[in-house]
């Protein structure tokens, strides 16, 4: 009884159990769902959401929100083929350049939020609008095909049968968990999210941490963009759009409070898998786009009622 209560109070574990339950039921009732190849494919899709949601988790933990995640993914996916120099056989120069741009965009977001005093939701929204225009001006409207070997390796290779994207996600997860729970900076993020005033009075620098936070969010979104590009082989305007709302949904389904200060990346991981699984299930049902949209919305709402409740104010 006590144990059952402890599970109910632990959102990450609850979300994990929910994923296991859904996979078990779907695997038994739908032919082909439980096949190793299909589950591996689901994890590969979840990796993009999970990595994009890594930055979002940090931002939400500190009480902000990053609405430029989708735009940054699109920026990296479109700029990488344009910025990869031909003389570089590994493609790592292009990767470094594009990730630097993603971090730069994040830093600009952070600078706007601290120095200009613009609320994060508006700053990142304006940034997304701005990037949307800049992209079309810079790259035109057409799709670009990726030749960069490093990115293709990331998106296509399977060392020991595990997709490289999933390996990358495991690495990102390990770093995130260390950063949030074992490093001083994670404690500072949580403190600023829980009570900004108290944190500031205890000597935690808002400016510095906000800048680092949004730079990290930009970095992870850029990483997700590279992975998506490698899996897709093509970048186009709008490729990152679906990942904005799913990154927020994954964070919230994982039990992280949208008000900041409470939560963990350990919840975001099953949150991302759960989102991908529900999308896959809805596709299996073979409904019209309207019904699919209704089912997706209702599922998020239902999952939210189970795992995402806010404390009574």
């Amino acid at each position: 009884m006590m144990r059952a209560k402890a599970i109910l109070r632990n959102p990450p574990l609850l979300t994990f159990l929910l994923v296991a339950l859904v996979w078990l039921i779907a695997g038994l009732s739908l032919r082909g769902f439980g096949a190793y190849g299909h589950l591996r494919y689901l994890l590969e899709l979840a990796a993009v959401i999970g990595i994009a949601a890594a930055g979002q988790t940090l931002v939400v933990l500190m009480g902000g929100i990053d609405l430029s995640v989708g735009a940054v993914i699109t920026v990296t996916a479109i700029l990488l083929p344009l910025l990869s120099p031909a003389w570089d056989p590994t493609g790592l120069v292009g990767v470094a350049l594009v990730l630097a741009i993603a971090v730069g965009i994040g830093l600009l977001n952070g600078a706007g939020a601290t120095f200009l005093q613009v609320p994060p939701i508006i700053m990142t929204l304006a940034m997304a609008t701005f990037l949307q225009g800049m992209l079309v001006l810079v790259a035109g409207g057409s799709a670009v095909t990726v030749q960069n070997p490093a990115v293709l390796l990331l998106g296509q290779s399977r060392p020991l049968g595990v997709p490289a994207g999933v390996v990358l996600w495991i690495l990102v997860s390990a770093c995130m968990l260390l950063l949030i729970h074992r490093m001083p900076i994670g404690a500072r993020f949580l403190a600023l999210g829980a009570n900004p005033l108290a944190a500031r009075l205890s000597g935690v620098s808002t400016t510095r941490n906000t800048l680092i936070l949004y730079a990290l969010s930009g970095f992870f979104a850029g990483l997700a963009g590279l992975l998506l590009l490698g899996m897709n082989r093509q970048g186009y305007v709008g490729i990152g759009d679906p990942y904005l709302l799913t990154s927020i949904a994954a964070v919230v389904l994982g039990g992280t409070s949208i008000l900041g200060g409470r939560g963990t990346y350990a919840g975001t991981i099953p949150g991302a898998i759960l989102l991908v699984t529900t999308t896959a299930l809805i596709t299996v049902v073979n409904a019209s786009p309207g019904w699919r949209s209704i089912m997706f919305g209702s599922l998020i709402l239902a999952l939210l009622m189970i795992s995402g409740r806010e404390a009574r104010r």
Partner: protein
């Protein structure tokens, strides 16, 4: 005595609320003058009507958004609600229901969806931003089922009445603003501000917080659905995804108008002014020959500037 002190308090609160707005009024006036210079046609009745008709739906959705933000909430379901309103208008008005039935259906659906969303947020204590995010998928789905592709029918006379060469849309906006002013004078209207500014204090003073939240979501739903009805009349048909840009624009316009995210901060007149600024801005950039994508770039910069400058002025004033 009592009366004088309470009116003094009222005056002080209004002065505090108006403080940031003077700059906004000046910017809007400057843009309007620029617009009139670039496009003198706005000074004729027909030009004025067309201009206000472009602004009207944005003004309505901004009011819908500001209403919730003043109450400490937010909605990401504005765009889908506009689409659904347009779809319902276009599918019911051609049938046996006729125009009055269609208008009633649009209002009822907006009210119902808003009230259900509000009930979920208020009674189950879920974060509004996520509930409305999930709701936006559901509402989009319903609109797509009712009308899978653009079509439907809106009577020609209704289109001419609302979106013809007469400033009916502007008069309707004035009526809606007047109704809002009257609503604010009722205990429920006052409670929207009170519950947004200090929920605990308002609750202890006997404000039914949950009911206020449900009412504000319901009213917001009606405004967004009515914006959809107007868009349907403007285009003469329904389109299940026509409302998409309104979600972000409504937030941007409300914030431009000085409405805060934490509730209780800002005014409806500021929000409406913000929507006017956004609308004029888009029109001016169009007449200056900006390519559509450059408009996105400029819009991003202007929104950041419009929020950053007043915030810094306030800091500077406080430091002095």
């Amino acid at each position: 005595m009592n009366r004088a002190s309470s009116s003094g308090l009222y005056g002080a609160i209004q002065r505090r609320r108006n403080r940031g707005l003077v700059g906004l009024y000046l910017v809007v006036a400057a843009f309007l003058v620029l617009y009139a210079v670039l496009f003198p046609g706005i000074l004729t009745i027909g030009g004025f009507s067309k201009f206000t008709q472009n602004w009207f739906p944005l003004a309505l959705v901004t009011m819908a958004q500001a209403l919730l933000m003043l109450n400490g909430g937010i909605t990401l379901a504005i765009g889908p609600l506009v689409s659904l309103g347009a779809v319902i208008a276009a599918t019911t008005m051609g049938s046996a229901f006729g125009v009055p039935g269609g208008i009633l259906a649009v209002v009822a659906v907006g009210l119902g969806i808003g009230a259900v969303t509000g009930a979920i947020v208020a009674l189950l204590r879920l974060p509004a931003i996520i509930v409305t995010l999930a709701g936006s998928f559901i509402i989009t789905g319903v609109a797509l089922i009712l009308l899978p592709r653009p079509g439907g029918f809106v009577p020609g006379w209704l289109s001419t009445l609302l979106a013809g060469h007469t400033p009916v849309a502007f008069l309707l906006l004035l009526v809606i603003l007047g109704l809002w002013k009257i609503f604010l004078a009722t205990p429920l209207g006052l409670a929207i501000y009170a519950a947004g500014d200090n929920p605990v204090g308002a609750f202890r003073s006997g404000v039914p917080i949950e009911r206020v939240k449900i009412v504000s979501f319901a009213l917001s739903g009606v405004l967004a659905a009515l914006a959809g009805l107007f868009v349907a009349a403007q285009t003469g048909s329904g389109d299940p995804i026509i409302g998409a840009p309104f979600t972000l624009n409504s937030i941007a316009a409300a914030v431009l108008g000085g409405v805060g995210f934490l509730g209780g901060k800002g005014t409806m007149r500021g929000a409406v002014c913000g929507s006017l600024l956004l609308s004029v801005m888009i029109n001016v950039m169009f007449f200056l020959g900006f390519p559509p994508v450059a408009q996105y770039v400029a819009q991003g910069l202007i929104i950041v500037g419009a929020v950053a400058v007043p915030a810094h002025l306030a800091l500077w004033r406080a430091a002095r």
